[in-house]
Amino acid sequence: MPSIKLIGLKKSYGDIKAADGLDLEIYDGEYLCLLGPTGAGKTTTLRIISGLLKPDEGMVLLNDEDCAELEVEDRKAALLSQTYALFPQLTVEENILFGLNIRGTDEKTKEQVLISMLDLVRLSGRSDAYPAELSGGMQQRTALARALASGADLLLLDEPLRALDARLRISLRKELRSLIKSLKMTAIHVTHDHDEALVMADRVAIIRQGRILQVGTPADVWDRPITPFVANFVGQSNFFTGEILKSGSVASLRTDDGVVLKARPTEMAPGTKAVLGVKIGNTDVSRDKPGYFTARVERVIFEGRNLHVDLRMENGQMISSKIPSWRRGKVTEGDLLNVHWEEIKGTVFPIPPGGLENELKVE
């Protein structure tokens, strides 16, 4: 239920800046994913919101009230950590009812909550089991039920699916989101996995080195990234450096080799040094359709639903393309193919200070 505002948060550990002027607003009832590489400051942010960590500077507002003086246990913000932290000496039932037991809730209410929670997370037959006896997925669901039953209205999820098998992760994504949504809670879900964020979030906030780079709906951060890092982190992108030729309704960029590429509109003036980014999934390669330039296929990797194609341009630069697998017959190693994308799918950025390679580094 609460809305949260983070204003100018700063937190350092010696030389390391875990939060460096972090601003973020999370709406009431929203499912927000905080997406970023390891070490970006995601967990630090979560801990500051929960009250477990005090920021060096900045404010946390819950429902527009400064909660600097509010103790952890009074914030009604339940934390679900990567390791679940299920209390090993308590049964599933006792774990789930932990929050209510602390509050001294009456037996009748506790029983009702327990039954509905067990049903919700599909653990009705296991209430007497101990955490050590449960599988990974079951432990995760128990931890979730415990958080949901605690009377909290804000859920803080720290990479909740990380410890699970890949396949299980995919099935649980939908379940986790719909459970939380059905209870109308506000949720902040921290992850490094962009697929997860895109599927689960109402909005995604990209965080890196203690700052928020961009916040928006999954479509926003995917199609309209603000920086090259965002363009490459939320789904891999191809990048081309050059100079702006034309801005206006369709932007065009001339690369150092003289090739002209098109992108969606930009405000940058012609002549500015810039870099154009386009998602590899939007980069189309074909024999017949005309393209901006040609490139030679070096390798084709099967990924189930998609093919990942790596190509080498004439000037030696490597680019990639993701096409559906059923086009397998049309793409083989050694082929010289035309490379094309829709203008609206390309974005131009100013050259990042420090260079492009530095900008894209993940670790």
Binding site: P37, T38, A166, V199, A219, Q236, F302, G304, R305
Partner: protein
Amino acid sequence: MPEVRLVGLRKEYGSVIAVNQVYLTVEDGEYVTILGPSGCGKTTLIRMIAGIIEPSDGKVFIGGKDMTGVPIEDRDIGYVFQNIALFPHLSVQNNVSYGPRAKDLSPDVQNEISRKYLGMVKLLDKMGMFPSELCGGEQQKTSLARALASGSKLLLLDEPLSALDSRVRVDLRYELRRLSKELGITTVHVTHDQEEAQSVSDRIVLMRAGTVVETGTPEELYARPRNLFSANFIGETNLLEGWIREVKDGVSLVELRNGGLIKVAQTDMEVGDATVISVRPEFMFVAPEGMKATVTNITFMGTYSHITAITEDEEEVGFDVASLDGNLLTIGKELYLAVNPKTAVLYPKPKNGIEEAIRLE
């Protein structure tokens, strides 16, 4: 001569059977992935190949030689651990040269070898650093260089990428395959991530509860999995129940429980048989007629949108549309869905029910 051969391999711990009668042959130079959910026995299997665990029954042959009773250090293997296991008190270079040093090769040769392999994984500039100073991806690359530097022709990878961020994983998995092929090494790679398996392997071995369910190339397993578990595990799919109405001209006509009619280009079942059809989301599309369904959810997936809809028999199905077209659909809209006959796969309906057949844990 096949590089690795497993004959009737079995491992039990008390009453728990971790690996149950596995027969497997890995050819010289092949990159094989052993894929399966947690607890399926894949890690136990690879540890038996390495000699870390002794089998309860059965034999392991490496390079044609029976490995029964042969200790780990004599099997000539390279092993990469899930938790990386770089020696914390040795520098990156000394970690990588450990193998040559154990063979008592001269310091010059040790130096040469370690430089060569560190160069291959592009970590020459981190040679003097210690493992704790490196990030996850670099640590794992060092671990790989160390395993390769022992000069072995058999590389065993135990969930080598599981501990890494998803972005780093994607970058590193291609390196694994590239190095393996460049050096002409036979590789056995264990993982629970089906996408990882599909992108690196020559062949996938799918395991469940201690046994091998199916083996095949990534394409085979994706397009024509031989049973429901594989179909569901290897990638997302819709499972539709129904029964065979007609078999004619190389096509089976299936009447679905939700009222729709689907044609499948498969004729190995008989009229009246109860069946389950597997259709992947990218092969189901909106059509003028077919299976009736109501849209319940539209999820943006980047280059496409994934639509969830409910059919007449209250089952959920998912299909993909190009992301621009996704804007034309709204929640609650009724539509008809059709399926490409060549992409759907027919299976007999499992006795214990579909849920049980595809269960992951």
